[in-house]
């Protein structure tokens, strides 16, 4: 992380449209910082403007309330409003559960050491149309580039042509794929993939699942079945469950995160489509309400357009005056 090209891409993805938000924020800051000379609380108009700004970024009522009241309640001594708000959001991100080792295992850890620990199994879940298949493709590419040997598993046997879509991604990223026909039992494909992956020495094993609305209990229990079968194929699997959320999602994103966590044990979130005008503020809401870490962000349609999430960069991108 921290390579300049990555920063450039995030910048590209975020700047073109964060403009308006930044402008408005600047206006609010100028007003707040201009009117007082330390010690005074922020006035009501500013508070309201800030509230609207956060709400319009889908940060949600609860997290917005926390940020605004923390900022408004504090008498300032020289700090700018910008720093206060950024600090508050960073604090929310900072309070999430400690991030588990990355998808590909800990940095520098040799996956084959000490009588070969089993391959890590990563389950990718989410509602329909958030970009699960694309994320699996990009993630495989990212891991491959970092020297791993990932294997992807096409367990979305429901949506028409989902398997073909992943196969194309696998070919592009030049990674192995385990697939089965449309309509096959997804859990069976997962079982095969884990066995094949371990036999071939692939690590990690990335599983693409069918999109499902969190309100469909029977489909949610299918995820439970996949988990049980994964465990049977390799004890401890899945080691990680990533929930893919669309950055344009509104407050329903919170409900999705909650439901998928209780049904499938989500361990982290991937925020996709952050290259539009949506700010993905629901990430703040999720960190605030559920303490789930955001792991990756998708910032374009290209294969390289998936990067690890950094709270600092995210907040900077949201509120920075100049890049």
């Amino acid at each position: 992380m921290g390579h300049v090209p990555i920063l450039d891409r995030l910048r590209d993805g975020l700047t073109r449209t964060k403009r308006r938000l930044v402008d408005r924020f600047d206006e609010i800051v100028r007003r707040a910082d201009g009117q007082t000379s330390g010690g005074d609380a922020i006035d009501v108009d500013t508070v309201e403007a800030l509230e609207e700004l956060l709400l319009s970024a889908d940060v949600g009522v609860a997290a917005t309330g926390r940020i605004v009241s923390a900022v408004a309640g504090r008498a300032r001594h020289g700090e700018s409003l910008r720093d206060l708000v950024k600090g508050e959001i960073l604090e929310i991100f900072g309070a999430v559960a400690p991030v588990a080792p990355g998808v590909g295992g800990r940095e520098g850890e040799d996956p084959r050491q000490s009588n070969g620990p089993p391959s890590r199994v990563v389950l990718v879940v989410g509602v329909n149309g958030t970009g699960k298949t694309t994320t699996v493709g990009k993630l495989a590419n990212l891991l491959k580039a970092s020297g791993k040997r990932p294997l992807v598993c096409a367990a979305d046997t429901f949506r028409a042509a989902a398997v073909e879509q992943l196969a194309i991604w696998a070919e592009r990223a030049d990674v192995e794929i385990i697939r089965s026909g449309d309509g096959a039992d997804p859990a069976a494909v997962v079982f095969d993939a884990i066995q094949a992956g371990q036999a071939r020495g692939c690590d990690p094993i990335l599983i693409d699942t069918a999109g499902r609305l969190h309100t469909r209990a029977n489909l949610m229990s299918e995820l439970d079945k996949i988990r049980r079968v994964a465990w049977r194929a390799s004890e401890g699997a899945p080691h990680e469950v990533l929930l893919v959320l669309d950055a344009t999602v509104g407050q329903n994103g919170l409900t999705q995160a909650r439901e998928f966590t209780s049904a499938a044990g989500v361990t982290g979130v991937v925020l996709t489509k952050l290259d539009g005008t949506a700010k993905g503020g629901v990430a703040v809401a999720i960190a605030h309400d559920l303490k789930l870490p955001i792991r990756y962000v998708g910032i374009g349609e290209g294969m390289e357009d998936l990067i690890p999430f950094s709270p600092q960069e995210y907040v900077d991108a949201l509120f920075q005056q100049q890049w």
Partner: protein, 475 residues
């Protein structure tokens, strides 16, 4: 999970029970709740602001303040204003269009355009039309293939030329429709960001080539505040004629997509409410408003029931009810019809008063229970199902063994059945079921959880209660 809007409003007024007079302060308290609820439903914050101001003006009216049921009055007010917000639209396609009519589906990635294409084609067939579909999405891997698969499933012709030029594909489809006599062309487009200038230009080129009479912006019910911006931009570039609201079968209230109606000024044409190709309906503002208020959606429920239940079968059943001949056999076929209506949870959600999921959670239908009920019924002989009075101890024991349940389970089912029969009898005679009978509906439903086919059917069969990942929601 947010509480329903109507519950919140009621709650705001509940605190002042016993007070002699209602003051503007009380109304303000209720307005705060309404504001929060609307924001949580992703209604655009500017729309919320204007909306609250309008409701405040009307609610401060003396008639409302003096009313004995201010809560109800305010809910009615909110309902009226919401309806006004969404305008009166009957949904559907535009009225006048040349033949062949061209329908262009557009929107962001993952909104559900391709799936909607298939559903819309199927809907058109139900209207007696002859649609042809074409995919111009040459960017997303396998998108063209996805539409072809949908075409095969729905038995709809898909125009599939060699060319990978989106404009040529669309014009080719129009030419084929004219030559072969198809009366509607559905053009599926690639998902694109409204700020992607190149792709927006491509969309304009497609639109200029085929002159669509309907440009449907496909929006996800779960989308957030950004929806306004994106829909507005699509509208500015190509001129949107209607919105298709997808994934409404979840628990999202669709507030953002609905805000599009008032801000961008485009009506909602269709709503997608399920994963099957049949799950596309005309938009009815009153139903969506009821949903937002959490007041249930009886009309949709009735329509779903009509789709699932055979007419003759229903007439027969009515006859049986009247004669008090309702048997376990009928009960079994009712269960099957119920299954066809979709997940019981969503069916329950449409019943007024059960809209509040918090309350419904108590009656959370359990998949396992339904399986058991079915197993018990299947373990009975035909004679037993026709006339349950022959049931004795040894038959019960046999049924329990055959269905892998206990005699207590069999007894409970039989008891429920008798209760239900008594209740249905009252209804069958045309008498309104009393409060007691009304209460039994959810209770009866308890334990009936259809594992709606074909997705995920059979999964979670052997699940232990409270499995390692707390399968069912525990709230």
């Amino acid at each position: 999970m947010f509480e329903s809007l109507s519950t919140r409003i009621q709650g705001a007024f509940k605190t002042l029970r016993g007070e002699v007079r209602l003051t503007p302060d009380h109304v303000e308290a209720a307005l705060r709740e309404i504001r929060l609820a609307l924001l949580e439903a992703d209604v655009n914050f500017k729309v919320v602001k204007a909306f609250i101001d309008r409701v405040r003006d009307r609610a401060m009216d003396q008639a409302v303040l003096r009313s004995l049921t201010p809560g109800q009055q305010v809910i009615k007010l909110v309902r009226d204003e919401l309806l006004a917000l969404f305008g009166d639209t009957e949904g559907g396609l535009t009225k006048d269009a040349p033949t062949p009519r061209v329908v262009l589906l557009l929107g962001l990635q993952g909104a559900g355009k391709t799936t909607t294409s298939g559903k819309l084609a199927k809907w058109l067939v139900r209207q007696g039309r002859h649609p042809l579909m074409v995919s111009t999405d040459v960017r997303r891997p396998a998108a063209v293939e996805q539409l072809s698969v949908l075409g095969r499933k729905a038995d709809i012709r898909v125009h599939a030329p060699e060319t990978m030029d989106p404009v040529a594909r669309a014009s080719g489809a129009l030419a084929e429709a004219k030559a072969m006599g198809f009366d509607t062309v559905i053009v599926d487009t690639a998902g694109r960001l409204h700020i992607d200038d190149d792709l927006m230009g491509e969309l304009q080129a497609i639109s200029d080539a085929v002159h669509p009479s309907d440009l449907l912006y496909v929006a996800d019910a779960m989308t957030g505040q950004d929806a306004i911006k994106s829909a507005g931009e699509f509208h500015r570039r190509v001129g949107v004629t209607g919105v298709v609201l997808t994934k409404l079968d979840g628990d999202a209230r669709g507030g953002a997509a609905l805000s599009v109606v008032s801000v961008v000024g485009v009506p909602i044409a269709f709503v997608g409410s399920g994963e099957q190709l049949e799950d596309l309906e005309l938009f009815h503002p009153d139903r969506i408003v009821s949903r937002m208020l959490g007041m249930g959606d009886m009309l949709s429920l009735i329509e779903k029931a009509e789709q699932a239940i055979d007419k003759d079968e229903a007439a027969q059943l009515e006859e049986k009810l009247r004669k008090n001949e309702f048997t376990l056999d009928d009960f079994r076929s009712q269960l099957k019809a119920l299954k066809r209506m979709g997940p019981l949870e969503s069916v329950l959600g449409m019943i007024p008063g059960l809209g509040d999921l918090k309350q419904a959670a108590e009656h959370k239908p359990d998949e396992k229970q339904l399986g058991r009920v079915e197993a018990i019924l299947s373990s009975m002989t035909a004679d037993e199902r026709r006339d349950h009075s022959v049931m004795n101890g040894s038959r019960r024991k046999r049924i329990a063994a055959g269905s892998g349940t206990s005699v207590e389970d069999v007894n409970r089912l039989l008891k429920q059945f008798t209760e239900m029969r008594r209740m249905l009898q009252t209804m069958g005679r045309g008498g309104m079921p009393g409060a007691g009978a009304g209460m039994k509906l959810p209770k009866m439903a308890h334990g009936l959880r259809p594992g709606s086919a074909p997705r995920g059917a059979g999964s979670g069969k052997k699940r232990k209660k409270g499995g390692p990942w707390g399968l069912m929601r525990t709230r």
